[in-house]
Amino acid sequence: MAQMVCVAVLTTCCVACVSIPEGTIPAKNDPWEGFNRNVYSFNDTLDDYVIRPITKVYEAVLPVAARNAISNVFGNVGDVFTAVNQLLQGKPGLAASDVARVMANTTFGIAGIFDVASHFGLEKHMEDFGQTFGVWGFSDGPYMVLPFLGPSNVRDTVGWAFDIKTDVLGSAITDVPVRNSVLGLRAIDQRSKFLNASSLIETAAFDRYSFVRDAYTQRRRSRILDGKLPPDEDDNYTQDPEAKTEKKLP
């Protein structure tokens, strides 16, 4: 499988051979831009011809209620994982809130089919190892586009390796075909949440690759701070924007 992936990625890289558009200013956090653009285009093609069509069929076949139920069940399992990362990030209060979510949704929400916790006012959070490492002080490292998975960076890629190691679904289900089906379903569920996003980016971005990269970098930094503004942001916002960008880079 891994070999097939490598061959597929390398083939598209050689066939498509996307080059950096002329006049592009090299981004400090993207030294591997040439390679990344190729993987990006591979993912894009894969999405156009395989993943998005499957997701559309999924949305057409299953009624909203069923899809929401599936989404909630995966979300409930994900909350356990989030709670663990909250603890690792030194946020016991939020960890407790996430554990309470899991308890409420597993019992009153019938095995997680209904997200009753959100109705009780317990907000859903999403924490992963990439964010945990960020909280611990690891910087982003160079930007990377991973085949199949999309935007990432060195820290988040290491984080992702820990994510799959600790994935409850991956380790609890021993029957391989069942496990693969479950993981595949989860991937489609994830994709269906952002089905509209790709057309929005296509409208909004001058150059999709760099737009996605810059937005991803911003989003991950914001997630690590749990959405709080860096203390200096407000003061600098109206000033020279360049000065601020410089300041934010670690």
């Binding site: 200013i25 949440k193 509209n196 937005a215 911003q218």
Partner: protein, 220 residues
Amino acid sequence: MKNMRFTFIPFMMQRRIMILAMMLMASVATSHFSYAQAVDATPDGLVKFMVNDIMSSIRSDKEIMSGNINKVIALVDTKIVPYTDFGRTTQLAMGKNWSKATPEQQKLIVTEFKTLLIRTYAGALTQVKDQKIIFKPFRMDPADLEAVVRTSVIDKGDPVQLDYRLEKVGDGWKFYDLNVLGAWLIEAYRGQFNNQINASGIDGLIKFLQDRNIALAKAK
């Protein structure tokens, strides 16, 4: 009789003056009242008004719910654009490139970028269904000239962060930056403007935006 008439007329005039005075007072009172109620008097009030207004307009329109993008664009024009400062958005997104453009070029860039953003907002709004908007607690100092209003859109179980950055313009507030899922729009566009201008100059940027808008208008 003559005497009565004499007293009667002043009485009528008195009444008229009274009524006029009352009307005047009432109009002053209502104008004060409407000032206090102006939708853009506070940042959080404005965002709440704008969001609720557009969501209910969309939900009550069958054509929009079935995906008529041009109707959504018209709606964005009337319900959102009056409370935005696209000039500020464009200027900040262009950063140091802003001063490289002549006033005429600046005007063109704002117009084209505004058209592109309106279309993007409209595209996002075609997804409005039964999402719930949660307005996060908001506080500000009365002297503040900038404010961030935080909201969360609950869509398919996952909260989607959507924050608005506003500035005080005269007595009211206007929004000029959006945060979607942790990324601020202006910051995400800085690299886009930088690269486009580096590649083809200010005129190239204008041409690029014009072509993009024409293509998008044709596509739907």
